[in-house]
């Protein structure tokens, strides 16, 4: 057992591990927060000190241990930067940067929010979750008071006391027989002891979106285990029942997040962020129109057949993210593109066949002239933008994939490569599939789009060429190497 150790007196002016204690800014149930300074650190700092005296909730200690392990290993704009961590041998603490402003909790008085504002907030939280999941962490306490925003707009997730790190020991897993968390936001599988499914965070975000757009919590405020367990079989009232003007695309997104079975939710936070960024592209299923909850027959079946028990083998977080990528295929509809587009289809088909949770974004760039004034209509009076959308859908139709996995986008831009790169960055695309222009004259005049995309993209890029035809022999240059020019 830990030996008796001498603790520091925590009071203004005291010094702990080189940090000078300022005022106490928060006195919470699990921890106290102090404003601290250190000469060599210019940004405002907070020291979080757990309550660990006799009789305190052991969850405060274990939660703090988890935070102490996880916080120093996280990076990026969506987490508070951690400057130091002290353990229980002396004075347990973590020192993090101050995130200015209030948590989303401050917005509760003004609910419901306008749909558009809720969409933007939800999208930012989904992006933050995506970043966190990629760092092998499931937050497990997504709720308004855990979410703040940087001045540039990025959501910051705070409080990692209930989190799970897929590559570190989970001290909460065996410590407590009852699930720890915030009852209204807790995913159903958490009630069955699951702590390793990143889609639990998507459920909590769904609760938040529902609450922020209707003003009502989908599963109420029950704190009892019995009350919480109802969500294992009882679905919430569809938002449209509460607000007749509720947009179908938003109900589709929210109810998909709130699916009881994790497998019916979005496979990744990136895919959820994608839908929130493109509401006009959300595939509307029966969910979007629903006006009442599931019939009692369905509810009873779930409850008494136990067919909603999401027992599953332990999923590797990284493997799950890798199996659900966003794949963007860039298509050109110019002359000579038929063969290339066929080759692109074969490549895309292979990717989709191996990754049943992947989603496909089909892109086409509608080139704008640098100097000329563009018209929306072509010579025959057809709307060019709409024509391209139709062509993209037509190209994708042989895939016969679920509509919810497919979106089409016409990007209007002067520079095609830049437009594709920008789309990929903004939408967290994992893999770009693009054709290499075959006409060497055109390529030499215009430069290679695929080369620029391959060189500058932050994700993987596959450059596709149509099956090679035998090269015409040039008798004057018979020894020349094949024209395998890198794109």
């Amino acid at each position: 057992m830990p030996k008796a150790v001498q603790r520091f007196a925590v009071k203004p002016g005291a010094e702990i591990d080189g940090f000078t204690i300022g005022e106490c800014v928060h006195n919470g149930g699990m921890a106290t927060l102090w404003s601290v300074t250190r000469a060599d650190i210019a940004v405002p700092l907070l020291m979080k000190i757990p309550r660990v005296s006799e009789g305190e909730d052991p969850a405060a200690i274990v939660g703090f241990e988890m935070e102490q392990m996880i916080l120093p290993r996280l990076s990026g704009p969506h987490v508070p930067h951690c400057f130091a961590a002290g353990d229980f041998a002396r004075q347990a603490h973590v020192v993090i940067e101050v995130i200015a402003g209030q948590t989303l909790y401050g917005r509760l008085a003004g609910l419901p929010l306008p749909y558009e504002e809720a969409r933007l907030i939800g999208g930012r939280i989904a992006e933050a979750l995506e970043d966190l999941h990629r760092q092998n962490v499931i937050h497990h306490d997504v709720k308004p008071s855990s979410i703040m925003f940087r001045p540039a707009g990025e959501a910051v997730l705070i409080d990692y006391g209930l989190s799970h790190h897929n590559q570190l020991p989970d001290l909460l897993q065996e410590e407590f027989r009852i699930p720890y968390g915030t009852a209204p936001y807790m995913a159903p599988e958490r009630l069955l002891g699951s702590r390793d499914d990143p889609r639990s965070d998507l459920f909590s975000l769904g609760v938040l979106l529902y609450f922020f757009t209707t003003g009502v919590r989908p599963f109420g405020e029950t704190e009892t285990m019995r009350g919480m367990r109802r969500r294992l079989w009882r679905d919430p009232q569809p938002p449209r029942k509460l607000r007749p003007d509720y947009p179908p695309w938003l109900q589709e997104i929210v109810l998909r997040c709130l699916e009881i079975e994790p497998v019916w939710r979005y496979p990744t936070a990136a895919q959820l962020a994608f839908d929130l960024a493109h509401p006009d592209q959300v595939n509307l299923t029966g969910r979007s129109e629903r006006l009442r909850r599931d019939p009692l027959r369905t509810v009873w079946r779930r409850r008494f057949n136990g067919d909603v028990t999401p027992s599953k083998p332990k999923a590797e977080l990284a493997a799950q993210l890798a199996s659900s990528p966003i794949v963007a295929v860039a298509l050109d509809f110019g002359e000579q593109a038929v063969e290339l587009n066929e080759a692109l289809r074969v490549s895309a088909q292979r990717i989709l066949a191996t990754l049943p949770s992947a989603r496909l974004a089909c892109l086409n760039v509608l080139k704008l002239g640098r100097v000329t004034i563009d018209r929306t209509l072509d010579e025959a009076g057809n709307n060019k933008h709409v024509d391209r959308l139709v062509a993209l859908r037509h190209w994708a139709s042989p895939f016969k994939i679920d509509e919810s996995r497919l979106t089409v986008h016409v990007l209007e831009a002067v520079d095609a490569a830049a437009a594709i790169l920008q789309f990929a960055a903004a939408n967290h695309v994992d893999h770009i599939v693009i054709g290499a222009r075959q006409n060497s004259l055109l390529r030499s005049l215009l430069g290679s789009v695929s080369a620029k995309v391959a060189a500058e993209a932050a994700c993987s890029v596959t450059v596709v060429r149509p099956p090679r035809l035998a090269a015409p022999r040039d008798p004057a240059n018979a020894d020349a190497a094949s024209d395998e020019v890198p794109v």
Binding site: M69, F88, A89, P169, E174, E175
Partner: protein, 246 residues
Amino acid sequence: MRLAVFTDIHANRQAFSACLDFARAHGAERMICLGDYVGYGADPEWTVETVMGLVADGGVAVRGNHDHAVGEIAETMSAEAQAAIEWTRGRLNPSQRRFLADLPLTLTEEDRLYVHSEASQPSKWRYVQSTSDAGRSMLATGADITLCGHIHRPGLYSMSATAKMSSFVPIAGVTVPLLRGRRWLAVLGSVGQPRDGDPAASFAMVETASREITYCRVPYDVAAAAKRIHDNGLPPWLADRLWVGK
């Protein structure tokens, strides 16, 4: 200080060489050997000599059940293990046998305990396969960190101040902080005969100042180790299992 900790080397020269090279290249300053230097593999002389050399250079070693069996007629071993031990006994010279017989069963250094099997009854050679096995061992020692082997499968257990246990299968290459205020028991995987389905040699590095452990996996020349077993007429299954890590 950065420690490299090896266990269950089992006379596998190729695997042990690869691990030692890896450890030195990654800044290991001191070598800790947790037993079972012989048995199963075909290079017991080289392995024992190497461990003797590490100890002479300031490292430490404790005794495992196979090392113990070299000097005893063990009753609890499988037929294959017994055959390998009898073969080994004839290969080692008296000073090597003396070295193994004189090794301690446990060794404590600062807040760390080194033992081959577990701390509650080290001479009973019990396996740590569950949180209750781990808890029994942790309660039997005053050390905060126990390092052991014997089961050939990596595992990491901890006990909170309120005696609640946690268990974890460590991931190679990921550094885990051994938080103060809790007790830890690290079961290392085997250098010379992994049994967790991964044929790569397994060991761990421990950073004493920051109290962090990193489990490591090192690929080695399995074909050469297997050939040595075949060439020396040892049971063929001892070579076959190296390929699959079972």
